[in-house]
Subunit: 320 residues, 4 copies
């Protein structure tokens, strides 16, 4: 699981705008509504001014606010179709794609990538072996879930590099579960970027990133926040409390106290949380079902974007 | 999952002792160390004074602090053996036992009960059908995982009542995952009580409890805290912060402010947490593996207690 | 898994007709085609003559030949709808149903019953607790997967009896995987009967049957053949070979030899098969997926029959 | 799943010996007993005469007849230790190993490879990142389960080649489920060879083999027969029947008939078996548990062979 903190251009922009209201130089933003009431936000960082302002590489960052959960087939169909439309804009016209499902299939909350691969329509082997006999609307797609360092002993980048060298895809789409900075986006937000997965983001075992620099082909990163770290949720509660109190009229001593609390809060939270037996994560109680539904919806979006002449209903019959 | 708040006599005692240092009338407590460095605490509520002081029924409440996680076979063996010893004290000499695994097998963090049943040595059918041919050391055990109300449409109590009427066990052992009030006991604490599962404890779908009153036979409840509610963890962090500040020298205005914060804290936390998509729980990141290891350890403890002439190593070969 | 040999009235009829061409006294049969090219055969045994002729109790035996596998959403929808129509004829108008998923959820080929229960729309708890607030089209349904004797130590009949006494359903629908007598019907045949599950059918752990005599309410048995015993498939091959040879012109010695082979065949097959490590079954290679698809299709058929005012597409959104 | 027909030098030898009793030129064989009553047979093909006689490449073929199933911890320990001893002989002294788990993790009977990888002690990442801090007894091991062509769209050989080029192991150990030619060896036979996996063996999706020619490093293939094809089991029954009859005194006509049957048998069997919906396999009924037990036993054998200074009991605590 990667942290969504650094990935989330929209949040960076919001944080920036709190301090610098008005347009951000070097950054273009756009918001709109897709079918099914899906809100989409796109942030483009177009030059070094934008890079400096948002602390992220030049590129496009798209956030879709969908309603995959609770499960509703019509809402999920709308989410898949909106995702497909955004992927097509980011990916452009491609003939050959490698889909990479990151994460650990044996840890429910981290299994989004592998489970998305399970539902991806894979065609490369058919096109290579029976070129004349495959439906003309189908393009070449292959898909792997390389596993995590602790189980394989091999860095994800090492695995994917070898495959890219061999398969020579036009683009890589990498799917991962994210750790969110906020509970209200869990499972229903899809994040896309054409900058790949940055070095340094994530939990330490992806130290080099998956991106055009490391792989030599464009990398689209697709992430869905599925967990919140326990520290985050405590911090959110404290912040809200402090903010509410600071908004009231307070004398000087009180203001000083609140400032002091603000300073000490992180240490307190760490103390509470790290008494525990290890990494604690906050998840929806029904995480097993949530991951299954999100993986299916995301995979359908990918399938529709890579074989755009096949419609949703037909696609559902192809991926069983 | 039941809340451990109400189940946890030790915590009630600690809360009480903070306000009323010294012995609690009507309550006897004992602490000792078992093999493998396992700390055991037993609280006996012996009369109405004790009931009033701790807010729980007359009975025995045992807490084992074990090291099941991270996995270590020797530590798990010690935990199973210590659990067996405590169960034997609570259960006494019985010939026929019904083991009930509560919870939802399709929700990882709630699957402890069903997974414990999977590892329980079941013998009733052999003893009934081939009475002369079964190892003399084996006693009659049967086991069910009745499922949860949302999946079956039937209250757990209704299911278990029918079985008890038919099987006529000497005792029921009911296993359940607990929601803890503290992160530092997750997965490594085993709680036992001979008072069964009280009405009103839990998440609302066990409105009548499983106990001697409802089932007509003694009910031993065995619980292991596997999750913490997101509210709890935030509340803990806030409490620690407020306590630290209140301990310092503060003028009157500050004290008033802190008191005000204390009052508002719960509402703030609820606001933060319930912005989310539903019930959020805090779990160890590796919850899939944790549940598997705990279920095996608990089931072995139950097996050793119900067939006390069979040793650990032999028992491992019987339950595959 | 029950053997389909004894359950399969159609086969019994065919066997009979081979020797007694023409109508069978005491037996009515009907064949027709439902939407989606589904062939349906219904056999009614109406009196003791029919019982004697077919060796099965008085009642109705329906066989649907569907195309659930390979997976195709339209074919599965047609199968669910045809199944619902036949169930409605057999069950009649009922207000309260108990669905029982037989079999072992931990053995893939035997998990059809438990997996069907997972996809059953369960409503009894809502109707009992919030009677005014539930959609008027919904009837009372509850569902259990009681597990198998080797895991629970309790006979299935004992478990179901207790539930029936408590829930007081108008009808029980019992789902089970069958062992087929022929490979060409695997996974695509659905068998229904209003005679329940007979004593003596099956693998020995259902010695008393689930039927009106034992439960006091009508029992509809629904089975799908998912495995073939290894002996069966070998016997089929031998029979075909012997039949082909016997059809040819042969002298007396040869006929005698073939008769001798026929006599010895079963012993030979047993010798080959039982050299193995235990029960061997023949399954489709993709049995994991097959069971999942069949369980979903069967559950949808049950759901549509028990809440007949809800259409297929809406139903799919209710059972996630 | 690969067919064991071509892999099984011992069977080839037996077939050969039936026709050519006495020593086979170019072939050395040895049989002995290991602890725990495990029978081991080693066949060495040492020159082109042996290649011609047995139809297999020059190399060593080892078969261990173990008792992994039914599960017994002592028997499984003995099997792991005997397997480790044979692997050490075949592999020699190595510093760096790549373990490859072949097969489809979503098809129970084909999941042996992926499940073995799950239980493999993986250390390469630790040795590379924290070289001074790792237990001196540990050697470099990494492990992958590359998935099957139908799910990834990429040939297994393509995947493994890329990894070998990057990881530069001294040896590759490839694990796979086998389709056996006989039911009496299912799950309890372990086959090893230092010739890798030959081109043309298997079910068609491994058209180039995994061996020293294709990968550039020695490849040890480790296989366990877990299924029998339905055709095989029928053929076995017929053969036994024909053989029994042929052994008796028969006149000329009868002999002619039997010869005719022998000729027609394969076509008959295919006709019976392929009336079914697709590939049918014969498996033990409890295949889910069988695969789990065999994978653990095999992985322990591999672990003991690659870190030979660590004993069995300590190893069990390292792979959880």
């Amino acid at each position: 699981m990667r942290s969504a903190y650094s990935d989330l251009a929209m949040e960076a922009r919001e944080a920036y705008l709190n301090e610098q209201p008005g347009a951000i130089p070097g950054v273009e933003t756009q918001d709109w509504q897709a079918d099914g009431g899906i809100h989409i936000n796109a942030v483009k960082i177009i030059n070094q001014e934008g890079v400096k302002a948002l602390g992220k590489p030049i590129g496009t960052y798209v956030t879709l606010e969908t309603r995959i959960i609770p499960p509703d087939i019509q809402q999920q169909k709308a989410a898949s179709q909106a995702l497909a439309a955004e992927l097509i804009k980011l990916v452009g016209k491609v003939e050959k794609t490698l889909v990479v499902g990151l994460g650990n299939r044996y840890v429910t909350a981290d299994a989004l990538g592998p489970k998305t691969v399970e539902n991806t329509l894979v065609t490369r082997h058919l096109l290579e072996n029976l070129p004349g006999q495959v439906d003309k609307r189908v393009h070449s797609v292959c898909a792997v879930a390389p596993g995590v360092l602790g189980i394989t002993g091999i860095e994800t980048l090492e695995m994917v590099k070898g495959l890219v060298a061999h398969v020579k895809p036009d683009v890589v789409i990498a799917i991962d579960a994210l750790a969110s900075s906020s509970t209200n986006r869990l499972a229903n937000t899809i994040k896309l970027t054409d900058t790949g997965i940055s070095p340094g983001s994530g939990l330490g075992n992806m130290r080099e990133g998956l991106n055009k620099e490391t792989l030599g082909v464009p990398v689209i990163a697709l992430g869905v926040p599925l967990v919140v770290y326990a520290q985050t949720i405590s911090r959110d509660a404290l912040n809200l409390l402090l903010k509410t109190l600071q908004d009231g009229k307070q004398n000087l001593d009180t203001k000083r106290l609140l400032a002091q609390m603000d300073t000490q809060a992180d240490a307190m939270i760490d103390q509470v949380v790290t008494q525990s037996m290890g990494d604690l994560v906050v998840t929806p109680k029904e995480i097993d079902q949530v991951v299954k539904e999100v993986a299916y919806t995301v995979a359908m979006g990918i399938n529709l974007s890579l074989h755009p002449e096949i419609q949703f209903d037909e696609m559902t019959t192809l991926i069983d």
